[in-house]
């Protein structure tokens, strides 16, 4: 590797965070994601996925440890970087509940992706230029919801809202996308669309993608690499295809069931599969 090698997209060193003393939510996390990778963050609910992603964007300060995005520190030793706004512009953040402003139009929501780049006086007057609007409309077309651009964001379906959120990160010119359970509240069809869109953003635009999922099937299908969290620790980091049922059971025990809920394919008849999640409890 040459001395001028590009820094990794994401470097997390010894990150620890507890909300209550003695009960770490994140416990000595060490992760390196190279630029251009598409990585799944796996874990049952409560394993610390969301908390970790929120730390990367500097929404939460950790207790100890540091996070670097493209070689620049977003936080170190419990202090969020002073230039965090500049760093956030590079980080596209999408979440399960889309976080769009539902009373604003889809176009305006996408234009908020430009807020870091547009001078403050202009954005406060709501004056986005023609070029900026065209750029936003182009990205809306790219994610396939150009028709809806003048509707209120709240009127869109879940899948469409998630696409609008993705369009916002594209307008923002983010280089890394953090997606926190982006498909958890979508129907299978929309979920697949959103995952394919993320894969496409990774493939066509070279964006680095870190996506938290709690369904292992999606991780295996779309992400070559998976990082598994359990009780705030990294318990697996490697090829996602190695995460078979046995591996997951070894890591998560009974909690593995939550990750193995089969992905219902739209082409297949949907048979409700009730997994005995609390089987251990019932027996006790």
């Amino acid at each position: 590797m040459s001395a001028h090698a590009a820094p990794p997209a994401l470097q997390i060193r010894n990150l620890t965070k507890s909300f209550q003393a003695g009960r770490p939510v994140l416990n000595d996390i060490n992760i390196v994601v190279k630029s251009g990778e598409m990585v799944a963050l796996i874990g049952a609910s409560g394993s610390g996925k969301s908390t970790l992603l929120r730390h990367i964007a500097g929404f939460l300060p950790a207790d100890t440890g540091s996070i670097l995005v493209f070689g620049r520190t977003t936080q170190a030793d419990g202090r969020v970087a002073k230039n965090i706004r500049e760093l956030r512009a590079e980080i596209g953040f999408v979440v399960q509940q889309f976080n769009l402003v539902s009373r604003l139009s889809v176009l305006t929501n996408v234009l908020t992706g430009l807020l870091f780049w547009v001078p403050l006086w202009r954005s406060l007057l709501g004056r986005f230029s023609h070029t900026e609007r065209v750029a936003a409309l182009n990205e809306l077309a790219a994610v396939g919801i150009l028709e809806q651009s003048n509707q209120r964001a709240g009127e869109l379906s879940g899948g469409q809202q998630q696409r609008a959120a993705l369009a916002r990160t594209l307008v923002q010119r983010a280089r890394i996308i953090l997606a926190d359970e982006p498909i958890a509240s979508l129907d299978p069809e929309s979920a697949r669309h959103v995952m394919e869109m993320l894969a496409q953003m990774n493939h066509d635009r070279g964006l680095t993608i870190l996506v938290s999922l709690h369904q292992i099937d999606f991780a295996i299908r779309y992400c070559p690499r998976a990082i598994a969290l359990h009780d705030g620790r990294v318990v697996y980091d490697g090829p996602s295809r190695n995460l078979d049922v046995a591996a997951l059971r070894a890591i998560y025990g009974n909690a593995a069931t939550e990750l193995l809920t089969p992905v219902r394919d739209a082409s297949m008849p949907t048979t409700p599969v009730r997994q005995p999640i609390r089987a251990a409890h019932a027996a006790a």
């Binding site: 512009a89 953040f93 954005s123």
Partner: protein, 266 residues
């Protein structure tokens, strides 16, 4: 398991609770009413004893004397102008004050002092402010505008900030995630969420300001209040009746209009 354990049944309200606190609360309310009865010198007997006087007094109001109706309408319009400006200035000042007194936007050491100042603006009645401003800027509608402005700022800042405190924080975080400035977070993340409520509060405040503006006139701050006060003081009850009727018509029309506008904006 056939039966829920007795403890659980009690805990989850199988038997309704007869709390001592509830009974004490009602007793306290009854005591408060009894105590205030004497302070307020409530004498229902007087109403009956002086019924004759009342009916003579009431008869003086009829028929209403509309000879000077042009003056009344002109003065009523001035009252309306006082309310318009008092509300407009109040809205403009209430917006920053509301944002600065919302606990989800600013730290405690900012919102606590700002809230106390707003409390002070609200605690003192418009009428008192009007009397004070008459000393400062002289008799006339401007003193009324200033009085309504201060009071409206205090009231709307509280209502606005309560709306801000009830917003969904997630869209704001969505905007923050783009690297937005804190003012941009407010403009694009907070304001759109609270706007319908803010409009509704402002219109409601305008309605009550029309009523208040007619009262501040009585201390000399211009408008229909001056006319009303003079008519009452000179025992011109027929004219008083005419003024009151005009006041009622104006206030009702404004109430109806603003109800319409509110229905459209939400």
């Amino acid at each position: 398991m056939k039966h829920a354990p007795a403890a659980a049944a009690t805990q989850f309200g199988a038997t309704p609770k007869r709390s001592l606190m509830g009974a004490l609360g009602w007793a306290a309310l009854a005591l408060l009413l009894a105590w205030s009865w004497r302070g307020a010198e409530i004498k229902p007997g007087e109403l009956i004893a002086h019924a004759g006087n009342m009916s003579i007094f009431a008869r003086d109001f009829f028929p209403p004397d509309f000879r000077d109706w042009r003056i009344y309408v002109d003065e009523m319009l001035i009252t309306l102008h006082i309310a318009v400006w008092g509300t407009a200035l109040g809205v403009v000042c209430a917006i920053p004050c509301a944002l600065l007194s919302a606990s989800n936007l600013v730290p405690r050491w900012i919102y606590q002092p700002v809230r106390r100042v707003m409390d002070a603006c609200r605690a003192i009645n418009e009428m008192v402010f009007a009397m004070l401003f008459i000393v400062a800027v002289g008799l006339g509608p401007f003193a009324g505008v200033l009085a309504l402005w201060i009071h409206t700022t205090g009231t709307l800042a509280k209502l606005y900030s309560e709306a801000v405190e009830a917003i969904d924080p997630r869209p704001v975080e969505g905007v923050r995630g783009t690297g937005a400035h804190v003012l941009e977070e407010i403009l694009f993340g907070v304001i759109p969420q609270v706007l319908p409520l803010w409009i509704s509060f402002s219109l409601y405040r305008f309605e009550s300001n029309v009523r208040s503006a007619s009262v501040v006139g009585m201390v000399g701050a211009g408008g229909i209040g001056v006319v009303l006060y003079e008519a009452i003081r000179s025992f011109q009850y027929a004219q008083t009746a005419a003024v009151l009727l005009i006041l009622i018509v104006f206030v009702s029309v404004i109430d109806l209009l603003s109800a319409r506008i509110r229905a459209v904006t939400i």
